[in-house]
Symmetry: C2
Subunit: 207 residues, 2 copies
DNA sequence: TGTCATCTGTCAGTGGCTGCCATAAATTAC
DNA sequence: GTAATTTATGGCAGCCACTGACAGATGACA
């Protein structure tokens, strides 16, 4: 059962403890009003150790959504090659939301807590956006690979860029705060995907 | 001629001097390797004064592109109301590029220097992106006003989001470094706008 | 049990950024 | 032209995010 050794498990435990403590403190007294020392103290760890787990104070708040993007990429890679790029991206996104709805409640709650915090904190929102951009490059690479074209081609850029627009508008226009909000969010996502489909010419995302 | 008083002119002068010194130092020895003290010293100003002109070290590098977005917004507001939103956005963008091509050479060079620096510095690129998002909200508001709908409606979000995608892909796929590169950039922009037009159904951005 | 790799705490230090107060310069009022 | 007022600047003390280096603690493994 315990595949990873004691050391690994301990590390994962402190990592989660740091995230939880940080999220709670940030939500309670504000992001910038909270110091790293406070977070470290709450977990009974030295401030230096905090920075061994997270490169910056921002990272501890963003780590969960960043992980989510990793999942998105894996899901995309698992989609069949016949699917047109935009369709594949849509299904990958649906899979991520589904996992959020059906997965471990504790994790989901943590994730939503992080998203709420990020949306209500300009500095974190900015950070979140720029990491999405980072991830966008990887999505482009994956789409280019699927379609057998160069990552420098205009089309994969355009497809991914348009898709992330859809995803972003989804989050912006419907802020899921609890597990109960997730179905509404999923529905909202469908609305926007439908709007996109209505707006675009059939076959626009291929060749 | 000298509409603004001596005080105002002096301030503008130090502001530009700080930007120039900062850009040169950043390009010469790297962004993070350059300290605010160095920039201040180069302009013979106290470090404290630097922070009276720019809230952060990042700001001095991003101020020019941020000003550019301001121009974009003004141009958009000047477009006739009959134009469909996406067309109006396209023309506003063209106007900005044209102003860049025909305006003061010194200013244009400064602007391009800033863009080059930003694109080659991850931290600055991240900051740049998140400010674009800030601006995106204002573009959405303007489109909503033009179209007589609510800024919360899906359509203006979608239109603007898609347009900024186009703009971003334009910059990413063609990095104008000197004034001579600008025509090529303008052409690239046209290509992407054409691609977008080909991909979208007529009338998609209205009603 | 002992050796080794890895994690952790301590400490000293850099650099971004701010509040505060005194001074100097430009603007305005007289 | 001078005095009064506003506004920009410099210097200083200090907070906090973040880092490198070293020493001690703690799992891993034989």
């Amino acid at each position: 059962m315990s595949q990873p050794g004691l050391r690994e498990r301990k590390k994962e435990k402190t990592r989660l403890a740091l995230i939880d403590a940080a999220l709670d403190l940030f939500l309670a007294q504000g992001y910038e009003a909270t110091t790293v020392d406070q977070i470290a103290a709450a977990v009974e760890v030295s401030p230096r150790t905090f920075f061994r787990y997270f490169a910056t104070k921002e990272d501890v708040a963003l780590s969960l959504p960043v992980d989510g993007q990793e999942v998105m990429l894996r899901e995309l890679a698992a989609r069949p090659a016949e699917e047109p790029p935009f369709v594949a991206l849509g299904h990958a996104m649906r899979a991520v939301v589904a996992e959020l709805q059906n997965g471990d409640q504790t994790e989901t709650r943590r994730f939503l807590k992080a998203r709420e915090l990020i949306e209500s904190t300009p500095a974190l929102f900015a950070g979140s956006v720029s990491r999405m951009m980072e991830n966008e490059r990887r999505l482009i690479a994956e789409i280019a690979r699927r379609e057998g074209c160069s990552p420098d081609d205009l089309l994969p850029h355009f497809v991914v860029s348009l898709f992330t627009s859809v995803a972003r508008v989804g989050f912006e226009s419907c802020h899921p705060r609890t597990v109960e909000d997730l179905p509404a969010f999923a529905e909202r996502l469908e609305q926007i995907l439908a709007l996109a489909e209505r707006s675009l010419r059939p076959g626009w995302d291929r060749v």
